[in-house]
Amino acid sequence: MRTYIIRRLLLGVLVLLGLTLLTFFIARVVPSDPAARWVGPRATLDQIARARVQLGLDKPIYVQYLRYMADLVHGNWGTSIVTHQPVLRDIKIYLPASLELIISGMILAVVIGIPLGVVSAAHKDRAIDHLSRAFSIGAVSLPTFWVAMILQLVFFGYLRLFPLSGELDPAIKLAYPMHQITGSYLFDSLITGNWVVFTNAFSHLILPAVTLAAYPLGLITRMTRSSMLEVLNEDYVRVARAYGMTERRITYLYALKNAIGPTVTVIALTTAYSLAGTFLIEAVFNWPGLGHYAADAVLAADYPAIMGVTILVAIFYIAMNLAVDIVQAILDPRIKAA
């Protein structure tokens, strides 16, 4: 198991290296002078030239890359052209809100999606199966921003159950100053026992989390259903029946452990995708997440920020893939052997 993990880890490092190379050169190829952007629109040529030297842009490109890599490793991810703040510090501000949203949304999707897929497969072609299939197709195909707005209309507009947008009511933010630990209101208020902030943050989280959960929920349900259908036809399932095992044990233990593999992959990939891919949700709910930051950076051609987000997302993807590999190997001992 250990050599297996080490091998996967080395592979991940290699992928990351390739990615830094790619992002670095793409950022150099685009027809926009970083030095000019750095000093602003009304700078003189002389100022631009000085900025070029200051930023190291006069050096050969491989030297620039090596410097960039060295900086990266030492936690210096460059300075944002727009905010004039270190990119890493910017990320630290936006990341907790993103993680909060992704984790809660994915938990929702997994907790509902897997059982729904299993029940659907176990009762193939019956009412519950048709219902779950219609539901999952809807969840996958309805546009995110539309789901978001409908939820706002119903739960804020008509029912007044949840707040419209944001992370926290401004009044509460002022009245209950938080001691920042992780930067996530929900988590920080939970561990400091600040219940007023916690309940407020929680009610703010519900609609965006449900919106985010919709797509992975549909995907997880469909994936679980189809691989369960396959597994339920396997000989060992019939053998388990022939030996008097209960249907519940067969479905949720013997079959599910065989069928869950593809679902695990889907969970990991959609989680990784969500990190910077939830811009639409963040926009509708005015959620201060990484998607927001990334979109702003792209619109402003803020290359250090774009590269920083790209690297972060890549690390996240690699970590997720590694997690998938490990989980798969734990689930199925045949994988380690291969």
């Binding site: 396997e234 000989d235 060992y236 019939r238 053998v239 388990a240 029946r241 022939a242 030996y243 008097g244 095992m245 209960t246 013997y254 452990k257 065989n258 689930l331 199925d332 001992p333 045949r334 052997a337």
Partner: protein
């Protein structure tokens, strides 16, 4: 004649398929006697496995239609038993071994998991006690190092070892009836012989009746006390093994036996039975073999032949037996 362990009477099983209903089994009468090995032979699609699965009620309920009966096991009708009752019978009183030991074992669990679980459930003991008994079971099927096998995954064992595990699982709760569905077909010939020897050895120990399903007549000759020949879902001939092999009465059995190549005998061409087993969409009162039968007469198309005695314990369903 001793009371039969299993009595099948007038059993019809058909499947709802996309293209309509297909009849798979239509058995007038089939008994399994105490502690005997009954060989159930026939071509692929003759209804052998379906019969076994019907006894355990393992056919998919929405696809299979079971009519007639009863199927009496120790005097009780299995066809009318509720599912919870059946679950107590499966694996404890009636066990089944399947053809492919690779696909019969769950690939993502150590083989000890189902084995101990089955023992714990059926014998009402703790998992710890069940583990002890599982070790004993593995010893009984002559697996070396049971401790290690119990924690092994199926892919870490050879085909023969896996089938030994399956046999151990089948016999762990001392069942009265063992349904062995082609238990040696997927194995090498040498391993086949070992497994046959093991089954023979254990049946005396356990005093179980065994229904041994195969299409291999050589295997049947070696292990079984009686043979039932199936054709197109019907039992067409049944009798003591030596009787059947020496004096086959049904033309189908006769042709099957003639098709076995013999050592030392040089034949350029083996005799074959022309045609194939018919697919029965609409049951008719005819002998289903008549289209392939060299001894057919007009009567064969007029009524369904009934099993009638032709010797001691030897019955055949044919109007014009050999």
């Amino acid at each position: 004649m001793p009371e039969a362990v299993l009595e099948i009477r007038d059993l019809k099983v058909s499947f709802r398929a996309f293209s309509g209903t297909v009849q798979a089994v239509d058995i007038q009468r089939l008994d399994v006697l105490p502690q005997e090995i009954l060989g159930l032979v026939g071509e692929t699609g003759s209804g052998k496995s379906v019969t076994a699965l019907t006894v355990l009620r393992l056919l998919p309920e929405r696809k299979a239609v079971i009519e007639g009966g009863p199927v009496l096991f120790k005097g009780q009708d299995l066809l009318t038993k509720p599912e919870t009752e059946m679950r107590k019978i499966r694996g404890r009183e009636i066990s089944m071994i399947f053809q492919d030991p690779m696909s019969s074992l769950n690939p993502v669990f150590p083989v000890g998991e189902p084995l101990t679980r089955i023992i714990a459930v059926h014998q009402g003991v703790s998992l710890k006690e069940a583990r002890e008994r599982a070790l004993a079971v593995l010893g009984r099927v002559h697996l070396p190092n049971p401790e290690k096998i119990l924690g092994s995954y199926p892919h870490e064992l050879s085909g023969g070892m896996r089938q030994r595990v399956m046999i151990g699982m089948a016999l762990s709760s001392n069942p009265d009836l063992l349904l062995a569905d082609e238990p040696t077909t997927a194995l090498d010939v040498t391993i086949q012989a070992q497994i046959l020897r093991l089954i023979n050895e254990l049946r005396h120990e356990i005093k179980a009746s065994i229904v041994f399903i195969t299409h291999n007549l050589g295997v049947i000759a070696k292990v079984s006390d009686r043979v039932a020949v199936m054709y197109a879902g019907n039992v067409v001939e049944i009798g003591p093994t030596t009787e059947i092999f020496r004096r086959p009465a049904h033309p189908y059995t006769d042709l099957l036996l003639k098709a076995i190549p013999r050592l030392g005998e040089r034949r350029d061409k083996l005799p074959v039975i022309d045609g194939a087993v018919p697919v029965i969409r609409r049951p008719e009162p005819v002998c289903y073999f008549h289209s392939r039968c060299p001894r057919r007469g007009d009567a064969c198309r007029e009524a369904r032949p009934v099993l009638a005695p032709v010797g001691a314990g030897h019955y055949v369903a044919c109007r014009n037996p050999v």
